[in-house]
């Protein structure tokens, strides 16, 4: 999801819509509208519809879905004498450019353009790593030859919104953009640069433009450069930009390019042939070929019918359309999701729970019969609490309180008991849940292990008090008595802990927590805990 903020009155005027209809129309185009300020709207655009990140793009889509304009929006493209010479720039090899004539700017429009540019930077541009855009006042550029090249870091220019000449290094260390994006494309002390023929900087992608070609409300014509690490993304970005300017009434001018292609923007059109039956099969509808073609046109694409097939021409601004299933979705949108008549749901087969779920349920019932309150704790825990060594540590935790995945329910239980020392005693609680343990059989090296844990905390407790409950639960689950084998573990008091076994399989352990561990958890009352390995019981 991408959110853009637009002036409400301006947008409604552009779309020719009443306020009350806007939400409905945009809802059907995957978007949502929220009123923010007095005359301000926040619009949520889905991340596949980058063409809708500017008011003109929204207008193009709305015109289609309301049936005002059908088929591809065709824009005038004229050749120019501008030329982009592309040198080897290893860190950011791709660059394209275009010219836009007859643009009408005011403060609001400039804001919209900057927002459009920024949102493209964040989405298709992957925070300028993949694609970066420079928008210039064409008439402030000297000469017709522009060069995409690289410059050393001491190369000087006046960055945007500054009156001081600075070196690229200074820009990186002292401007906000420099700090954010400075290191993306620096390689061997060289930075990519868009230059005039005389060597004056127009922009230092992906960081900042020069102040020389800054756009303002008097700007009439634009020069746009797009650079990046992926040719398709660069070409698509430029196509999106010029298409939306053209939708706003401007004329697109092509720039001669010295590499990959002869001129840009490419205005890439894809052809897709879709079968009526495929679309209907996917949607569960029985639309005629003509109806499908109509819906395709409502989504601002051209459609040519050829018996039961439709040739869809995907214009440059619909970069989200890849295969026939994308067409199917657009047809469904134009048809209207709410127009689908839904059949009554029928189930062909029987559903079923996993055996472990059934066991969990039985275990919970028995523990409750034993008078234990069920608790539900977090899977994530504090690594310093996890007293075993083998646990999953998170590389990028949000807080140290949750920087590891529990490998036993005992630690969660102790943490819970520590929080409840002033509650009414006795405290008898249990939890059923998954822990993560190392596993050689798993392709990730780890596996979930479903366990149950029971605990009693009181001013005075006995081992038997818990053992008797655990014993009855296990007896009821298996119909035979478990055995107990003395064990010594450092988190239990010596001589007060046992492994629990069925036949020769250890299915759990029980014991009184050692004073050292109680201290570590700041618990001032004795605690007896049992942990049962439910998956072993399930076998």
């Amino acid at each position: 999801m991408v959110n853009i903020v637009l002036k409400e009155s301006r947008l409604l005027n552009l779309l020719g819509l009443e306020e009350k209809d806007l939400n409905d129309v945009l809802f059907n185009l995957k978007s949502e509208v929220e009123k923010r300020g007095e005359d301000e709207l926040e619009i949520e655009i889905n991340s596949d519809r980058l063409d809708m990140l500017s008011p003109e793009g929204i207008k193009r889509a709305v015109d289609g879905i309301l049936g005002r304009k059908l088929g591809e929006a065709k824009y005038e493209v004229v050749p120019t004498n501008y030329q982009l010479i592309i040198d080897d720039v290893e860190s950011r090899p791709y660059a394209l450019a275009a010219v836009v004539y007859d643009i009408k700017l005011d403060e609001d429009r400039i804001k919209e353009i900057i927002q459009f540019q920024e949102k493209l930077h964040c989405t298709i541009g992957r925070k300028r790593k993949k694609v970066a855009i420079g928008i210039h006042d064409l008439d402030k550029i000297d000469g017709k030859v522009i060069r995409y090249s690289k410059v050393p870091l001491d190369y000087k220019f006046v960055p945007l919104n500054s009156d001081k000449e600075m070196s690229v290094s200074e820009v990186i260390s002292s401007t906000e953009q420099g700090k954010l994006y400075g290191n993306i494309s620096i390689k061997d002390n060289y930075s990519p640069a868009i230059l005039q023929e005389d060597g004056q900087v127009l922009s230092i992608p992906p960081i900042i433009n020069s102040n020389k070609t800054k756009i303002d409300s008097s700007t009439k014509n634009l020069f746009i450069d797009v650079t990046g690490t992926n040719f398709d993304a660069v070409a698509q970005t430029l196509d999106l930009l010029v298409s939306n300017f053209a939708e706003g009434g401007s004329k697109i001018g092509t720039v001669k390019v010295s590499r990959y292609t002869s001129s840009s923007p490419l205005m890439i059109h894809n052809k897709l042939v879709v079968k009526t039956s495929d679309i209907n099969k996917r949607l569960g509808l029985s639309l005629s070929t003509e109806e499908i073609a109509k819906y395709v046109r409502m989504m601002r694409m051209d459609a040519n019918i050829n018996s039961d097939e439709i040739e869809v021409i995907v214009p440059q601004y619909r970069i989200d359309i890849m295969t026939y299933v994308d067409i199917a979705e657009d047809v469904a949108m134009a048809y209207g999701y709410k127009s689908f008549s839904l059949p009554e749901y029928t189930s062909k087969g029987m559903g079923e729970l996993l055996p472990i779920t059934k066991l969990e349920r039985a275990f919970r019932d028995l523990a409750i019969g034993g008078g234990f309150q069920e608790i539900f704790t977090f899977v994530l825990n504090k690594s310093s609490y996890l007293l075993y060594n083998d646990f999953v540590k998170i590389q990028n935790p949000i807080t140290v309180e949750y920087d590891a995945v529990r490998n036993s329910l005992i630690w969660n239980m102790l943490k819970f008991l520590a929080k409840n020392q002033h509650a009414r005693f006795p405290i008898k609680v249990f939890e059923v849940g998954d822990v993560v343990v190392k596993s050689e059989e798993s392709d990730t090296g780890y596996k979930n292990d479903t366990r149950a844990c029971l605990a009693i905390m009181n001013s005075k407790i006995s081992y038997e008090e818990l053992q008797s409950v655990v014993h009855q639960i296990l007896y009821n689950l298996k119909g035979k008595e478990p055995r107990y084998l003395r064990q010594d573990k450092d988190y239990f008091i010596k001589g007060r802990s046992a492994k629990i076994l069925f036949d020769n399989n250890v299915i759990g352990e029980i014991g009184e927590i050692s004073p050292e561990v109680l201290e570590k958890f700041n618990i001032e009352n004795p605690v007896v805990i049992a942990e049962i390995y439910l998956e072993k019981l399930c076998e």
Binding site: K30, N46, R126, N230, D232, K281, R282, G284, T323, V325, D326, A328, A332, M333, Y337, L342, E344, Y345, S347, K348, G349, G351, E352, L353, R361, R364, A367, I368, G371, Q373, E374, I375, F376, T377, F378, V379, L380, V392, K393, I394, Q395, N396, I398, Y402, V405, K419, N420, A423, R424, I427, K428, V432, D434, V436, S442, D443, T444, Y446, K447, N448
Partner: protein, 468 residues
């Protein structure tokens, strides 16, 4: 059985001479207002006889109180004269209430008056009326002699005599008193010994002491309920692990390797690399990524470990087994995403993911399935919004109508792209969805702070009303 107050009355009577007492006397042991009804209860039970009597109740008037304090005027006169005669005029000047004193002293023959002089016949005097007055004020019994003066005292306005109804209770028999015990025992019952004992009464109206109750957790119950809904709709349960390879969490779901969701801020990274055992699946996933997303797909990235950020990873795991028959499966489990923890955000929460692979499955069937699931959970009204997910097309967001809240976004769903199903060798259409359960549980359980779904406060758990 006798009540505590009834026993008090009997005890009082026992101590009295001839075992009788007036109801007025009982006010020293029980509230006076209760005496009458208790007396008749005891009479009905045969313990006492009750006689109603009219009893005179004598009280001092205000003047009577004064006289008691200062003495009767005639007595004071005698004591003033100390046996000597004095001129009337002289005495009248200084003596308080002289006329009253003179009149009563003459009437009682305590003085003579002759030639303007008072001649005392006694040198000191205390009237018997004064003694009676004193007795009345201290509630002493009056003798027959004393009673002769009552009329006079009343006429002098020193006392008031009122008649009251009182009860005279006389103890007829004493209740049988047996030794008291607290516990009935098997022995007592077996030997009939219990008849010899009185079982102590409890304060049955007092609040009981606390005992902990075994109780299921409300949020777990909600999750189990959703499982039951899925089973009732014909779905089989599946599950997979928290630690997952990016391959299943992202790549198989056609999420490009530079997709923002794969960035460090959007999933928890775990040390180590997984092993991709099915290399032909890997190869097909690589091909489809490179063909449509146009970048160079790296197996090393796909092997990176994360805590799964969506239970759709479980769906991907199911797909990776190339199911070639029709299936309907679901999973409910924890997913993990970095976020700020507050009243509406946690870094771990639950999702329900479902997958249908059926020969004739389509978008319409999917919408109908989603409607059925929500209806089962308790959301009867849903609407569908076009949406975008990398792995489904068409995609849909499901909104449910919640009373008091309006339309709430609840799930994302869609038909899996062929780019997802085909590399896995699945040829039939497939629908999938993911549904966040924590928010939904909050709505159903009336919980405002998401952290209360996992409360670590035992008293909160104990005190929470059970849902049913």
């Amino acid at each position: 059985m006798l009540s505590e107050n009834e026993i008090k009355i009997i005890d009082f009577l026992k101590k009295k001479e001839n075992k009788s007492a007036y109801s007025t006397e009982l006010s020293s042991v029980i509230p006076e207002t209760a005496v009458f009804s208790l007396a008749y209860l005891l009479k009905d039970k045969g313990y006492v006889s009750v006689k109603e009597e009219e009893k005179e109740n004598i009280i001092l008037t205000k003047e009577g109180e004064e006289r008691l304090k200062e003495g009767l005027p005639e007595d004071n006169l005698i004591n003033f004269l100390k046996g000597e005669s004095k001129k009337i005029q002289e005495v009248a000047k200084t003596f308080k209430d002289f006329n009253i004193a003179l009149s009563w002293a003459r009437k009682k023959g305590l003085i003579k008056v002759d030639k303007g002089e008072i001649i005392p016949l006694k040198s000191s005097y205390v009237s018997p009326e004064y003694v009676v007055l004193k007795k009345i004020s201290s509630s002493q019994d009056l003798s027959e002699d004393d009673k002769k003066y009552l009329k006079e005292l009343e006429s002098r306005g020193l006392i008031e005599i009122k008649k009251n109804k009182v009860l005279l209770l006389t103890l007829l028999k004493e209740p049988e008193i047996r030794p008291a015990i607290t516990y009935l025992t098997p022995e007592l019952l077996r030997n009939k010994e219990w008849t010899k004992y009185e079982l102590k009464e409890y304060n049955v109206e007092a609040l009981p002491p606390f005992i902990p109750l075994g109780k299921k957790h409300y949020f777990k119950e909600f999750l189990e309920h959703v499982k039951d809904v899925m089973v009732s709709l014909g779905f089989k349960e599946v599950k997979s692990d928290f630690v997952e390879m990016e391959f299943y969490n992202f790549d198989m779901l056609f999420q490009a390797q530079d997709h923002p969701a794969r960035e460090i801020h959007d999933s928890f990274k775990v040390d180590g690399k997984g092993e991709l055992l099915n290399q032909s699946l890997v190869k097909r996933v690589k091909e489809v990524h490179e063909k449509l997303w146009k970048y160079s797909w790296k197996q090393e990235v796909a092997k990176s470990l994360v805590l799964r950020s969506q239970t759709t990873a479980t769906t991907a795991r199911v797909l990776s087994t190339s199911p070639n028959k029709e299936i309907k499966v679901f999973t409910i489990g924890k997913v993990f995403r970095p976020d700020a923890i507050d009243a509406t955000h946690l870094i771990e929460f639950h999702q329900l993911d479902g997958l249908v692979i059926e020969e004739n499955f389509n978008f319409r069937e999917l919408l109908s399935t989603l409607r059925a699931i929500f209806s089962g959970i308790g959301i009867k009204e849903v609407k569908f919004k076009p949406a975008y997910f990398p792995f489904t097309e068409p995609s849909v967001e499901v909104y449910g109508y919640i009373q008091g809240l309006g339309w709430v976004e609840m799930a994302g769903a869609g038909l899996l792209r062929p780019e997802v199903t085909e590399p896995a060798g699945v040829t039939m259409p497939a629908g999938a969805w993911g549904l966040g359960l924590d928010r939904l549980a909050m709505l159903f359980l009336g919980i405002k702070d998401i952290r209360n779904l996992y409360s670590d406060d035992i008293e909160y758990l104990r005190n929470r009303k059970v849902e049913y």
